[in-house]
Amino acid sequence: MTAPDRATLRWLFRTMVTIRAFEEKHMQEVNAGKPIGGGHSSIGEEAVPTGVCAHLTERDFVASTHRGHGHCIAKGVDVKGMMAELYGRATGACRGKGGSMHIADVSKGMLGANGVVGSNLPLATGAGLTAKLRGQGQVSVSFFGDGASNQGTFHESLNLAAIWKLPVIYVCENNLYAESTPVEYSTAVRDIARRAVAYDIPGLIADGMDVLDVYEKAGQAVERARRGEGPTLLECKTYRYFGHFLADDPHRYRTKEEEESYRARDAIASFKKRALASEWLTQAEMEAEEQRAQALMDEAVRFAEDSPPPSLDDLVTDVYVSYPRIKV
């Protein structure tokens, strides 16, 4: 493949370092005992949302998971609003009512993180239906894990999208684990992409530690969708460097060697090396991006900490657009 243009390369790098900076900041704040919700870190997996969302605009749709911070950032959700949401503040993306597992910005096509495993696939399928009915070339993406690929919604969604030729890209982030359960135990097929056979659609595999490989394969899938040819299943082989959630110790179910082998192929570090070698971006440019991301996170935390909590009246608002009254 030929490398994407410089602006795209820069966006890819910026997005990956922003995701990592956000996740690291969140972890720091939690470890420092800040009054902030925990969550599921996506450190290690940055290349996947980045490589996929590089092909999307705000008019396209994304449905995300419990491990959704990276998807939100890659889809353009405001980082300050995200941080404030983790702090449960009125200025949060969801005005403090959603928290880490429900960050959303429908105006940006981000249909929400989702705390129920497998629950977002039908949502993304429905967004794809909207796209198809509108006929303006929008596409829809569902991110989900290896564990989620065993839910019935996976099957029902892919079948539906296939028979209706919906412009949906089903992106399986195969990070080898669902909580402490190894994929080779839970999933009766070696490559999840192979499950595409059951719906007669393309099943692609990308190296989820290589943002350019994800970018390329996702590009094929997005183009196919925009051409009206229907859905694609794209499996990205990736890895989460930390536990399932912030307090989980992954060494109870996997080896340090395995972790090291993935860290050695870290998506950001290897992109950096290649970018320098191929003269895509300069060292200075990349350092500037990293500093920018750090500064943004500091600003985001300040913003969150300075923001007020929701008013107690908010307990009973937003349940409905219209409803007579909800008693407390």
Partner: protein, 342 residues
Amino acid sequence: MTTTAATRQITYGEAEREALREEMRRDPNVIIMGEDIAGAAGRQAQGFTDAWGGPFGSTKGLIQEFGAERVRDTPISEAGFIGAAVGAAATGMRPVADLMFIDFMGCCLDQIMNNAAKMRYMFGGKSKMPLTIMTRIGAGVGSAAQHSETLYSMLTHLPGLKVVAPSDAYTAKGLLISAIRDDDPVIVCDHKRLLGRRGPVPEEPYTWPIGKARILKPGKDVTLVGISLMTTVCLDAAAALAKDGVDAEVVDLLSLSPMDDEAVLTSVRKTQRLVVVDEDTPRCSLATDIAALVADEAFDFLAAPVKRVNAPHTPVPFSRALEQAYMPTPQKVVDTVKGIMG
């Protein structure tokens, strides 16, 4: 709501079809999806189309006017297609999803409960969910335990959902139009035994407000609250009671969530007695919900124990005789009323 005098009589099912047709004409974002809602899917070219029009014919003819893009037959995948309707609603469509029988809600409850009902709240009010789900409820047609449930009580339990249960052709059309135009998710529960009943229905579009009950028969001695088919049971009971000199007021609930608390309370404050008639099984049901409301907010007006007539705490039996015994009947209501007339 309109008060046009309507002389034309059509069935409940036809009234719903008319509501769908009018709303689909009015708003291109309205689409319908469900199993066999047209039928013979994909076989237009071979001369087959609209083979079923839904299991009860409620969607018959729509595909001919609106085409297969807007009237979409689905595979048997309730979580998939109802979840897709949720996703379509979140992104600007106004879908009507057909869940053939409410008994199948266990196949898709996650999409209804965790996505449709909660998205707006979880997202801090920054989304809408203009989704309608049409489904069929009720026993009395020999369909046994997995095709005869009522179950609206479980959906009423869930914040974020609206739930309505029309009781005749007129309210069927008005409530379905309201549901489609509503920006919140609304579940429309249609009793199988009401679908074929005729009643006067205006031809033009109109709405019956979600959240509003109506008094079908004024009375002063006891309040009977009916839901869906049970409203007709209340009317029959009221007629029988009248012969014995008991003047019952019949409240047709229509909306289960939001519920017209005031209509119920006002009636009970006047009659001082309440019998709720609810085909759903008794535990944690609409009947207990209404009884609890009254025992709290109209307590000082009550002259007698608050009574409920429900189906028993059993699945729906197949055998006709048993199914008959399962259903709340006018006689059971009459007996219950007599027990509290002191």
